[in-house]
Symmetry: C2
């Protein structure tokens, strides 16, 4: 029997990987359904029912259709929560709040600074064959340095972003940072030793290792 859970979009997409890492962390079975961008399948009526913005990922669990990668990730982590895999910590007000704070930091501070470097150095050259816009990269690295100082101070206080426990907040940093580490700017992380050690712990998680191997296609 095919797994009930379906994820639509390729594993090498950062926002699809955001969902897959949650599925791998909880050990849920799922089917990955490719979307043919060359045929503009993401704008087809079938896909627009799943994701009205015509984007990836989309997600199906029986009759339930979801989109927006962070929302899908939370659904998965809630549904398959165990005492060993409680990555949202919603049973504890303060812990859940810290998971939310650092999830928002990833979305609104870290990713807007780091992802343009990934687009310019990895994604656009791979997909469109366009050269890197160095001005965009330089401005982004400047912002990223300021952000990494905040991460460094936080990871000096606690082993993971939300506290001394791995959480959804850490996982969300994986997909774009993974590709960042394939750019010439990866050594920037050496300047932030607590961030670097945290990243290495993240990369050692079995779920992340498995995803990283599948994403290596783009390198």
């Amino acid at each position: 029997m095919a797994p009930a859970l379906k994820v639509f979009g390729p594993a090498r997409s950062t926002n699809v990987a955001r969902v897959l890492v949650c599925l791998e962390e909880v050990g849920a079975e799922y089917e990955l359904v490719d979307i043919d961008f060359a045929a503009r399948e993401q704008k087809s009526p079938d896909h627009l029912k799943r994701n009205p913005f015509g984007q990836i990922p989309a997600f199906q669990d029986g009759d339930l259709l979801l989109f927006e990668s962070r929302a899908i990730g939370k659904y998965i982590l809630r549904k398959y929560k165990t005492s060993d895999a409680d990555l949202l910590r919603e049973g504890d007000l303060a812990e859940a709040a810290m998971v939310d704070v650092w999830t928002e930091v990833e979305a609104h501070q870290y990713n807007p600074a780091l992802s343009p470097v990934v687009y310019e150095c990895v994604i656009y050259p791979a997909i469109h064959g366009t050269p890197t816009n160095q001005r965009v990269v330089d401005e982004s690295l400047e912002k990223l340095r300021k952000g990494l100082e905040v991460h460094e101070a936080r990871l000096w206080e606690s082993a993971s972003l939300a506290g001394d426990f791995a959480s959804f907040a850490d996982l969300n940093h994986f997909p774009y940072t993974f590709y960042f580490m394939a750019t010439p700017h990866a050594p920037l992380f050496d300047e932030y030793p607590h961030v670097k050690a945290w990243w290495e712990r993240l990369m050692a998680r079995p779920a992340i290792k498995k995803l990283a191997a599948r994403m290596a296609l783009l390198n």
Copy 2:
């Protein structure tokens, strides 16, 4: 006795208002502590302890310090949840997922399209006295139209974004849309009758009415 909850930042700030609307919805008592931007108080050591990015809002509940407005809002809605005020619906997997989906849509689709119009037409002229950059406004309105089509289709299906119940996802649309309605582009919403009716229902909520009166300062 002073209330235990403190919000740092002025009520007229959209991201502060995001927090205040949650406090007003659950009827929690709180103290609003102003931050003196002219004196760069947001970059002071005291404020950086609350918000390491030196931004507003910040939030204090006893020993717990939080930042990032959407994370603070969720903490408040979880802590003061009642059967009458359950705006996250975390007790129901599918409902909670739809709240998350439309909360993410606000953060990653709606707000990036609508907020530049608010900055260009309301906030920058008020704060810096700078003229409106019409190119930015035009490009944003183009994106906003596409987004409002998705909202319109959704609000044709259900009374509110996450389903037939008001939620955190709806509330998050309030602060920027409130200022958008003070721009010359407000009539755009008339083209989307379900969105317009939903907005009018939102504006009729007592918590929103109260906040709207406090934010009117900027108009």
